[in-house]
């Protein structure tokens, strides 16, 4: 069920009305409604996967209790590792088994040891990477004592299945999410209005920007070898904007939907298009995943390797970004993507300049910031080619073309139709940077006419430009 579909509109309207009328004074009622509606929402995609989530959820529920009630550190660690391995095995089977088997068969064939070639078509449960990581993080937090094991099944399964976030995050930490359902949610008009604004901005980013840029970007990636360098560079920049609009659009709709139910979710993007270097970019891009990777993978690794100084930190960074790449999918292109991101980090680690919050003023400082922002954007756009490439051959061909002839020729991309919405999108992204979402400031405008004019401009653009209704979200594939 997509956020921008008639089914979801009907579904959410029903949940919303029941939640704030029949169950408005009952925490158990609100929780039960959320759990049942989440089951319906996820089951709408494929009921088989509900069984998988049910098994995974039950396992993690029990393991967290076992971890918490054991006094012995050794036993706690044993249960924790059992949980981590089981979660990784479930994820590995559904997401990576086919890829590993085919890669192994190809390698053995190269060595003259043919393995019977079977192509596994294992259906990928939507959101599996998101909820598996959420569960692993939960077990680690319970083991560390930063979260308590939830012993109320309805609350726990609401945490696991909660429909605004189940398909593509944000990856919620238990200590953030559970307290917000430990109380009766009261109807607060301001929070609900803010949720609507955030949903509106997400819908605009998805339908107008992401879906509008999609055919332009797809055209270039079909045959990158045929395009001049200028087209490929522009195409790479457009893809980064498309991906951002697609995923931040989804995230804003998810967070906005949840706000309308009185439950705040974690922020997922902090204006990454305006990042000032690679580390700044990853602090702003898909924050719930990168902070997960930093806390649960990078920190223990860097801690273990800290006696080796910067080389140790560099190794921890490389492994972490390799994991970020592999998390996105079972394809060599994601491994290349992760390695590139790790390599881009190394100069910062080597120079000790991973932190960019050096304040300053003046024209020279401003010009430097703009140059750093432009350079980072172009660098990330070039590296994200590997996120979009269907294969190593396509990615290599794309990169070869980028350094090939035709850099100063007119790009063969007709952006004319997209120019106005694109500029409007980037302008509001710039004005809304540092805010909870891009329409936060708009919501606080005192002039009613101005506020509603901006909403009207957004709605008109959605009506005018969205011509691919029903398009799925890119991150559902991850």
């Amino acid at each position: 069920m997509l956020f921008l579909s008639q089914e979801f509109l009907l579904f959410f309207l029903t949940v919303f009305v029941l939640y704030w009328s029949v169950f408005k004074n009952s925490m158990n009622g609100q929780d039960s409604l959320l759990m049942v509606s989440s089951i319906i929402f996820y089951g709408w995609t494929d009921t088989r996967f509900l069984i998988l989530i049910g098994i995974s959820g039950t396992l993690n529920y029990g393991l967290a209790v076992l971890i918490e009630q054991n006094e012995s550190d050794r036993l706690r660690s044993a249960w924790l590792w059992t949980g981590v391995i089981l979660n990784i095995l479930i994820l590995g089977y559904f997401k990576y088994f086919g890829f590993f088997y085919e890669s192994l068969a190809c390698s053995l064939e190269g060595m003259g040891l043919p393995l019977e070639k079977r192509y596994f078509k294992i259906a990928l449960p939507i959101g599996i990477s998101f909820f598996t990581f959420q569960m692993i993080g939960y077990l680690i937090d319970v083991n560390n004592g930063s979260s308590v094991a939830c012993r109320k099944p309805i609350k726990f399964f609401t945490y696991v299945l909660y429909f605004p976030k189940i398909l593509a995050g944000p990856i919620e930490r238990a200590q953030n999410f559970l307290p917000s359902i430990e109380r009766v949610r009261t109807y607060e008009q301001e929070m609900i209005s803010d949720g609507m604004r955030q949903f509106l901005w997400g819908a605009f980013a998805k339908t107008v920007i992401a879906d509008g840029l999609s055919p332009l970007v797809d055209g270039i990636h079909t045959d990158p070898g045929a395009a001049p360098a200028s087209t490929l560079w522009l195409g790479a920049c457009l893809y980064l904007i498309q991906l951002y609009a697609d995923f931040s659009g989804y995230s804003n709709m998810a967070i906005g939907t949840s706000k309308m139910l009185g439950i705040p979710l974690s922020i997922n993007f902090r204006s990454p298009l305006f990042a000032l270097n690679v580390s700044d970019f990853w602090r702003r891009w898909h924050v719930s995943l990168t902070s997960w990777m930093m806390d649960y993978l990078f920190t223990p690794l860097a801690f273990m390797l800290r006696q080796y100084g910067r080389p140790g930190a560099s190794l921890a960074i490389m492994v972490t970004f390799l994991a970020v790449g592999v998390w996105h999918g079972a394809n060599w292109t994601f491994i290349v993507f992760g390695l590139i991101q790790g390599l881009l980090f190394l100069p910062l680690v080597a120079s000790g300049k991973v932190n960019v919050t050096r304040p300053g003023t003046g024209l020279v400082y401003g010009a430097r910031q703009i140059a750093a922002g432009a350079f980072t954007f172009i660098l990330m756009a070039a590296s994200f080619v590997w996120m979009r490439a269907d294969s190593i051959a396509v990615g290599s061909s794309y990169w070869k073309g980028m350094v090939g002839p035709g850099l100063w020729t007119n790009p063969s991309i007709n952006l004319f139709n997209m120019l106005v919405p694109l500029l409007f999108f980037l302008l509001l992204e710039w004005l809304g940077r540092g805010q909870d979402h891009m329409l936060t400031k708009v919501g606080s405008l005192r002039t009613t006419i101005l506020r509603w004019s901006i909403y009207a401009v957004i709605l008109v653009q959605i009506a005018l430009y969205s011509n691919t209704q029903g398009a799925t979200f890119i991150y559902f594939a991850f």
Binding site: T299, R306, R358
Partner: protein, 81 residues
């Protein structure tokens, strides 16, 4: 070593890593209160504190830290061990 002396040295390490002194040392200070103290710089801060006091932490001890107060207590317990 006195609690205040430990806090002063930790403050120096923090300033060296995050590059500014726009924070106030108090027991309930947490990483999000200090601009630039995030997962990536956290390990530099921890190793900086280890060098400053010539102590070694365990990962479990680091994971259990809740705020500046618990960090100062941890350093104090290491120094008196």
């Amino acid at each position: 070593m006195e609690k205040n002396d430990i806090a002063t040295r930790i403050r120096e390490v923090l300033i060296a890593v995050v590059g500014h002194d726009r924070f106030e040392m108090r027991d309930d200070l947490t990483a999000p209160d200090v601009e630039g103290w995030d997962s990536l710089t956290h390990m530099s801060i921890i190793t900086g504190i280890e060098s400053a006091f010539n102590v070694r932490f365990k990962l479990r001890e680091i994971n259990k830290l809740r705020n500046m107060g618990t960090l100062i207590e941890l350093v104090q317990s290491k120094l008196s061990a």
